[in-house]
Subunit: 928 residues, 2 copies
Amino acid sequence: MSASETEHRMIHLFGGQDSRPHGGKSVLGEKGWRLASMSALGAPVPPGLILPAHYTGEAAKNGGRLPDSVRRALREALSQLEEITGRRFGDESRPLRLSVRSSPPRPVPFSIGTVLNLGVTEKIAQSMEQATKQVTEQATVNDTVNDTGGGAKDSAKDSAKDSAKDSTVGWDAYRRLIEGYGVQVLGLNGGGFEAVWNETMASEGVEGAHELGLEALRSLALGYREVVVAEGETPWPEDPMEQLYETVAAAYGAWNAEEAQNWRIDHGLEHLPGTGLVLQTMAGGTGQGHGVSKHGGSKHGDSKNSGAGRLITRVPATGEKKPHGNFLSHALGPDLSAGIRITGHITEMEQAAPEAYAELLEWGNRLEGHFQDAMDIQFTVENGTLAILSARPSQRTAKASLKIALALVEEEICDTRQGLIRVDPAVIDESMHPILDKAEAGQPIAKGLPASPGSAVGHAIFFAEQAVELAAQGVRTILIRNETTPEDIDGLKVAEGIITAHGGLTSHAAVVARGMGKCCIVGVGAISIDYLVNEMTVGDHQIKRMDWISMDGASGEIFAAELPQIQPTLEGGIATVLGWADAVRRLGVYANADTAEDARHALEQGAGGIGLCRTEHMFFEIDRIPLFRKMILALDQIGRAAALAELLPLQRKDFMDIFRVMEDRPVTIRLLDPPLNEYLPKGIRSQTRMARAMGIPVETIQRRTEALSETNPMMGHRGCRLAITYPEIYNMQVRAIVEAACIVKKEGVQVNPEIMVPLISTSKELSLIRKDIERLVTQVTGELGETIAFRIGTMLETPRAALSARSIARLADFFSFGTNDLTQMSYGFSRDDAGMFLPVYLEKGILDKDPFMEFDQEGTGRLVEMAVKEGREANPDLKLGVCGEHGGDPRSVKFFHQVGLDYVSCSPFRVPVARLAAGQAAVEAQAD
Amino acid sequence: MSASETEHRMIHLFGGQDSRPHGGKSVLGEKGWRLASMSALGAPVPPGLILPAHYTGEAAKNGGRLPDSVRRALREALSQLEEITGRRFGDESRPLRLSVRSSPPRPVPFSIGTVLNLGVTEKIAQSMEQATKQVTEQATVNDTVNDTGGGAKDSAKDSAKDSAKDSTVGWDAYRRLIEGYGVQVLGLNGGGFEAVWNETMASEGVEGAHELGLEALRSLALGYREVVVAEGETPWPEDPMEQLYETVAAAYGAWNAEEAQNWRIDHGLEHLPGTGLVLQTMAGGTGQGHGVSKHGGSKHGDSKNSGAGRLITRVPATGEKKPHGNFLSHALGPDLSAGIRITGHITEMEQAAPEAYAELLEWGNRLEGHFQDAMDIQFTVENGTLAILSARPSQRTAKASLKIALALVEEEICDTRQGLIRVDPAVIDESMHPILDKAEAGQPIAKGLPASPGSAVGHAIFFAEQAVELAAQGVRTILIRNETTPEDIDGLKVAEGIITAHGGLTSHAAVVARGMGKCCIVGVGAISIDYLVNEMTVGDHQIKRMDWISMDGASGEIFAAELPQIQPTLEGGIATVLGWADAVRRLGVYANADTAEDARHALEQGAGGIGLCRTEHMFFEIDRIPLFRKMILALDQIGRAAALAELLPLQRKDFMDIFRVMEDRPVTIRLLDPPLNEYLPKGIRSQTRMARAMGIPVETIQRRTEALSETNPMMGHRGCRLAITYPEIYNMQVRAIVEAACIVKKEGVQVNPEIMVPLISTSKELSLIRKDIERLVTQVTGELGETIAFRIGTMLETPRAALSARSIARLADFFSFGTNDLTQMSYGFSRDDAGMFLPVYLEKGILDKDPFMEFDQEGTGRLVEMAVKEGREANPDLKLGVCGEHGGDPRSVKFFHQVGLDYVSCSPFRVPVARLAAGQAAVEAQAD
């Protein structure tokens, strides 16, 4: 056994001799590691023990009971703690009281809550009662200023009562021990305690424990104990050592529970050895607490320079560097967090306990320096002496996170790498979109899926054409539809925001809106639109054409009012932070861009290439769709080829424009993907219009539409399947790409084209199509006398393609994971229909997150990991990227970094956030 | 290096000293192993060499060129062969001629074809010409009676010409060497040879090489050589040793080619070390061949007791034990297989060469005994001396395979385990259904997807109601629809066969027909039905109501005629063979059965339980659907619960009936799976009828139908997602199951219920639903005072569920793989829509097979393998089965055995074939 392994097996004592922590977070857990670190720094931390994580496994091996070896180690460590504190566990005259808290190595659910006052027995409570009756005026702030969690219901006591009241403290602690132990260790549901509580309050005619006298408090505690005896399966263990063992065993039991194991298996955390456990001495001499009134007002006089509070080193809302937090002189910890009474601002402490305040600020600085972050510090002051109970990085708004990161680097508290990972990526979205001022908004009339962030305010309209007309008059509109179609595109462009009753996060409206950076809410099931009379019903609300609508794209809320918008202030620091990210990131960040205009925007946002150029949108353009429809209606290959020949010059120009903008950066062009049926009009009116325009009977169009209609179009005749059945479509597209590349290169512009085949599920598909592409590349470059290297690759978006990565990689220069479709097929969730059940899944906690927003690392992610590993083994030169919506989601980007992709691609608007996340991923990966 | 490893590295010489084969099929390949085995038995096999498979890899490592070590080994082995034969490779006076054939360890594509006559040079041809001019009357049968493959175009020579004609043989061999080498080794496409051939024939005014004189034949050979010089990248290698090296290298090159590697990767055969290679001496003294006329008639006289032929030991069509095959006295091997002339029956050999014939029959018996199978033996007779060129198990019809297997066991040639694996599973289908007699059928009018086997003949009708009416009058009908719906069920029951224009192999019609064992063809795109006038158009054919239709469910062909049907003769041997299978199989075979009637049928077929009882069909029954629709239309949980309460007794009775039939055998009941929308009528007429029946406005129904309609229903709101959103549905079903089980058990009947939750994609879904089920089981068994063990498990049918098997297995008593949906989601192929492209995929060879018929082992199968492995690791007691359509497909069943499932479940009609396949799988797994 190595020295460090030995250390990992030892119980860590802190607060005595200061030594560096034994082991890191994986051994001591996060809380434990931080306490040990602070103690090693010399911070005034109440001493305690940290049980190492691996004890968890030993308990599991021993059938859930604590093994003798652990009991022995615990007893020995406890003796040391008794020596340091001069108190004894279970001793009536100088009792040692402990709080027990789980300290997992990283946040996981299924931990037990804190158990307070371990070590208090009936006899000790009794003896404390006697002791305080003897020593009435000894002001100490004490008790459980750790955290809540113990189920403490009402610990406020009335400072107005005389200090003999302190004789009740032992009983109150005993009661709270019983409640915490009953709920956390014995697994009672707490209903029994509540009944006794209510009964006592009723019979005494009071509203809280602080109003109870000694007798009542004692009988309340003993009543709680009877609940345990009646409901529990074992007798109440009055032996404190036994209680301690059982509490420790319960903490391990929670970690080892079936459901907790399942959760860790599902989240790839099976390797974690277990949870650390912190046993910390509870502050306070005899253990008395001094009550403070529920209605404010602290006890003055002798105990003025005692109290409890919380220092936050930088203002959470703004990030400004100045003391924040609160202080309550003569307070009990739980008062602060339970919000029972209004506490004073932290600066009030300067008056109450100036020296302790100075010391606290000093520690604030030192801990910031040590943990390289803004801190949130819980403390007590006892007769002017500061004790730091815990410290952790402070919570903050996204905006503050930016300001703090910049300041930490500026003040040389941390380097730019650490600064980078302190920035909340949400700050970028916030700085790009106006925010709705909902201060006086009232209730929203409906809520849908937030499909594209920002906010919008305008007049309700129900037809795209009206948006165009009104926009020409300078009128702001919100376009509301059951769903949008490509024909609504002009309306979508000019509307302030878009709302649809149907559709999911990747419906037409959602995708288009995100591409435009426009606010959009979809799947608002409550909406019922009556197009005939130009109005909609939402619950009890009737919204007519031109009524005001405000929408919040971040929350999905819709208001029937003209709300004010707060314009974003461009945060200057963002550019700095993005610079830090670019300097360290390994992932390339490309953009999804279908036009030269998109491409220019992508470059402005810092994209390194185009990861997805969708050629299908090009066919929806007003000058193309008639030709494309002609192709679809053609009866044979010759007819199709003729229509395609007319499309060729238009497609070629699309690509030329894009190549000219992107120059030598990669441009990944996806060949046609959607089913042909999407290009045919559905309603009889549109069909008739089309028939008239083409000079053919409407029946021809109807017949073709019917023949092409599919039960499940998502899994139907689309993607490369079109190329297998109608090779001429891809042939035209490839020719257009190659010609465009050659022409632009002749102009002296470097080009870097990549041709992407969508939706393959077998290597044979790619083999066949690749041969066609290679043949055309050779032929066309030969015709035009140019030499250009074309990468030919594929989208990996069916599970089967991921499972065949080995053979596919041998035929592909690159894989681009299409995580939208991969997610759909992996879950069997249709994006378009998931609105029927996904909200319920999120509500019931079956899903932690919408897998179409944040990539499902645990399930679908295994397919990506396998394909990356096996693909690279088969073809070490394989370039790997992702072009699904997830390419712009910060957490997903981090996963893509971890599995070793080369780039992510997302809409131009998301490029900055992806750059930030990619940089953070690089730093975090090194830290692990 | 161990002794056996050393052997694997040696070239195996056979036909000299007889020794047991070095290594098995993996080293020598199948052909090589069989030749070496026969030689070791003492069979008169022309001597030769077998290059071991691992040389293939050495060539690959050497950049495709033969390494010196291999060349050296080859030269040494060749000297030994020269010693045995008394001939020398490249020698003009006694030339050694070789054929080179790939001998892969198992059938794989991408092998090179045979190259014949290696060792013949221009000088040797010249010298053979001289030799035969000197020795004119020396009759030998020789040449290449191996197999074709060498691209030999016309090797027949005219026996009418005088024997001096034999002087041409050398040139003909040389020409054939050049052609074989050019195509197989140099990769020429053969077009150049064809041009020279055609030119020669035209200028000589003849139709085949046998009509050419010496000069013309010589110039034809030299003309071929010029083609190689002109088209090839290297000069013609006249050195025979060089030719040999290059041929061997080409055989390895074919194995090592990109595409071949991909194929092996995709088929899980990466571990194969390479291909063996057989270099066999070609029969014949000086190498002369005696021509035989294209128009029959063999040369008589001295050479009468020479010839070539093929003995098949049992008749391929019937399995009868008597000599089968053919014999051609004075023949060349290729004549036999090229079908150029009519050959004599094998029994004619008795006259021509009685001793050789007796010896041949004797070897037929010995080889049958050795290989434990009926054999197909190629041989030559030279002056009365028999030479066996090759032998392999004979091909046979399914029916013959049964007869042969029974006979082999009866004759004690093999045991029942070997007998079992000789049976073609197709014999079971054939023995269950009448076969269409297509002798005078003419062309089919259309072809669709064969959805359910057998045949059917009847009058065309287009409405289910008509089928019912006509059946009452004893009229046989074929029901033809665009697609069928649950409301057609009575018509489906009485029709002889079912044809649908739309839909795939798991459309409603297909599933129902298979369940009934009724002939069905779906997805007949050519059909256009006009319901109004009661007729259909198929290409040029107009089919009216009551016109005769015959359909072949095995091929998918449809005929506009009343064809005769051959009634199946129940093969008595099937029961015997199934007995063998049951004795050895490890897999349980269950049936998919939804009713007590189905269950009884399943038991008759030998099912060991019910693997899939679909509860949704129950709701389509005429007495249930109104109640179920009421539930769907209910506005809230209370309304739904009320409707469900009315359904409860009906469901309970369903289950009671099934439990009574199945007794203590497992009955796996799947909770509701399809989307609710399937239960609502779609057309306005049906909707109006329903509205009237329910006394509600039709708009209510339309609104609900619209609200429930989905873009991709297959991936929509169905399966356990319904239980998450409407828990009361499953709760009713579970209550019905538990009540039924308790009541039946009270009657004294043992029950063994398993409750199956469909379509989960996360462990949380199962966790939530399982809790509900367990609660109800406890509650209801308590109410009824019974104790019954319920297994609670899940269908594994989404890729993500398979990827989460570890955590799901901890919550499940069993997994049943739903391979239909798993296949759909893995490929992203909608079963309903795949008809648009799947036929093209099969036609172009992108898929070897329809993955909905035969399970995709290579891709989707990896998900099953992972889930089995990880599921068992997490829960060793996990019961594993499959209940997709693949449970009745023999090859798929073998895969399910290999991956370690416990059972397969299929429609009752397929139970026998599944039992057979399961038995074969068990035997084959042990043999591997």
